[in-house]
Amino acid sequence: MTIRFDKLGVVIAAIVAYAAFAAPFATFRANRIVPGEARSILEALPAMLGPLLLAVIVVAAVVALLKTPLILRLAASVVALAALALLIGVAGSFLTPEGNSFARISPASGFWLLIFAFTLLLADVLTRLNLSPWARIGVLVVAAAAIGMLLVSGSWNSLSILKEYANRADSFWAEGSKHVTLALGSLAAAVIAGLPLGILCHRVEKLRAGVLNVLNIIQTIPSIALFGLLIAPLGWVATHVPGAASLGIRGIGTAPAFVALFLYSLLPVVANTVVGLAGVPRAANDAARGMGMTDRQRLFGVEFPLAFPVILTGIRIVLVQNIGLATIAALIGGGGFGVFVFQGVGQTAMDLVLLGAVPTVALAFAAAIILDAVIEMTSTRRPEAQPA
């Protein structure tokens, strides 16, 4: 019997070997801003657990390295990731000196590389399994539930990022809900305005180039500048239009951020609506007209359903982009997770940066998976609507 290696497995095993034996697993700092000291796996964990973790990691890496059945690889990656997630919490409490509330323990490069390597393995397995859209959403829910349980159970509480969280739990949820409101609200506004605009551009050829060009140019204005530029006009509206201020419109804060995100969102929505409608097969349109449908009936009965997957793709782009861009709102007092990111950058407190960045990435990632799944569901139901 010859041993056969998996090509990706070689990469994974190499990363794991370096991360487990040569890179620090956790960083210990006496307080939140001094430079840290590295701790290896064996140093960071209590007597039995260090070798145990090493054993789990090595076995999982060997499974990845050799050509093994998918199910085994799936098990290896999940077990390794679970072990890492649990034990980094253990390392946190183990390394924190008794009764010391200044010391900070954070995951170090070795830990992140191990997570990366096994996530790569998991991603490869999931890609090769070719999961159905529902199954993908299911995996996402299970993963979210597992992380949620770890958070609620308090086993990560001794890690620095959660200490930052503990210090500002209230503002975390407030900024979080502001972030989501900004991203989703501006998306909703863009869809409400963008769909009719896209339909109009589809029907009236003269408008098309002009509208798309203007929207394209808006996209080229850097986000921080656009946010800034909207401060003045909205300030003017707030002071001069009666009732505007009581609606929450201010020169600085959420309003300019909301408008800026709305403006950025218009292009993908309008452009994809135009492309989707243009891609409706001529034959379908002719048939609809031949059966005596009115323009309106044709729009809602034929064109729109056929163009829907393409329009959804535009919405996916917008949502993921908005979740990212909403971080910038913090620069003009608009709130959101960006508050922590920029505060962290300002204080060179990386844990604070992570407190803002990690939820943002997680939100964007979840939004992408869910919308991808929805897009696939709507377009597989009508395979003929797929471009060849």
């Binding site: 990706l8 080229t220 971080t327 964007a364």
Partner: protein, 254 residues
């Protein structure tokens, strides 16, 4: 007929005017002071005065250029790798990774790069590089995997080696699509580079942020407009190259 002829000239004239205006503005911003003055309050300066706009513009472009060249090299190399028989195992995974990677907000990448490399130009370069990789990789992949089968077969049938096929047929044929990716990447990078100034990179973002901090609308406007003008011009230029290469091959362009 005559009217159409005149119309065809309008975009080129506008572009030319934009170039002239841009050069005049960054090299001699003083001329434009009266225009921007009304935007300032209580006698604040109307023109950015903590550095030369020209220098910042050049630094901005340099950052974007370095990041784009690096991203293009790596992305195209990776795309070539996963479309060769030896690397084809990585193709599905690389597709998923690109999809996942695109969900990472640039601000997050930027902020997370700071602990690794410190403040300044480096984290910006890393963020621009990583963010620029994705569109180029995706387009290169599309280009290299949707080549007309007929033509690739003809290249094999003519006795080209794998390397000759890649260099003489596959890459030239995917050039327009790859260029499209580079164009997207450059436009994103031009805008994202401004955020780099929040971690002390010297880009035009400095002007905008100074404006935000001192509540000086004139600064915000001039920084934003220079970046937007650069983006529009570069976008146009790259589109033109793209159209030219595509037209030579008789391909339709959108």
């Amino acid at each position: 007929m005559k009217e159409a002829g005149v119309k065809a000239w309008v975009p080129s004239l506008l572009r030319l005017a934009l170039v002239v205006l841009l050069i005049a503005f960054v090299s001699n911003p003083g001329w434009f002071e009266p225009l921007l003055k009304p935007l300032t309050e209580s006698n604040a300066p109307a023109i950015y005065n903590q550095g030369s706009l020209l220098t910042l513009t050049l630094l901005h472009l340099r950052t974007v250029l370095i990041a784009t060249v690096a991203a293009t090299t790596v992305a195209v190399a990776l795309a070539i790798l996963v479309t060769r028989p030896a690397g084809v195992e990585f193709l599905p995974l690389s597709r998923s990774l690109v999809n996942i990677g695109q969900t990472f907000p640039p601000v997050a990448v930027l902020a997370l790069a700071v602990p690794a490399v410190g403040f300044g130009e480096k984290p910006t370069l890393i963020a621009l590089f990583l963010y620029g990789l994705l569109p180029i990789f995706e387009n290169a992949l599309t280009g290299l995997t949707t080549l007309p089968a007929n033509v690739v077969e003809a290249a094999r049938g003519a006795g080209m080696t794998g390397w000759q096929r890649l260099v003489k047929v596959e890459l030239p044929l995917s050039a327009p699509i790859i260029l499209g990716g580079i164009r997207l990447s450059v436009v994103i990078s031009l805008a994202t580079a401004t955020i780099g100034s929040t971690v002390a990179a010297r880009t035009l973002g400095e002007v905008i942020i100074a404006g935000l901090l001192s509540n000086n609308l004139a600064f915000v406007l001039q920084g934003g407009l220079i970046v937007a003008a650069l983006a529009v011009l570069i976008y146009d230029g790259l589109s033109a190259i793209e159209r030219y290469t595509a037209r030579r091959m008789g391909q339709e362009t959108a």
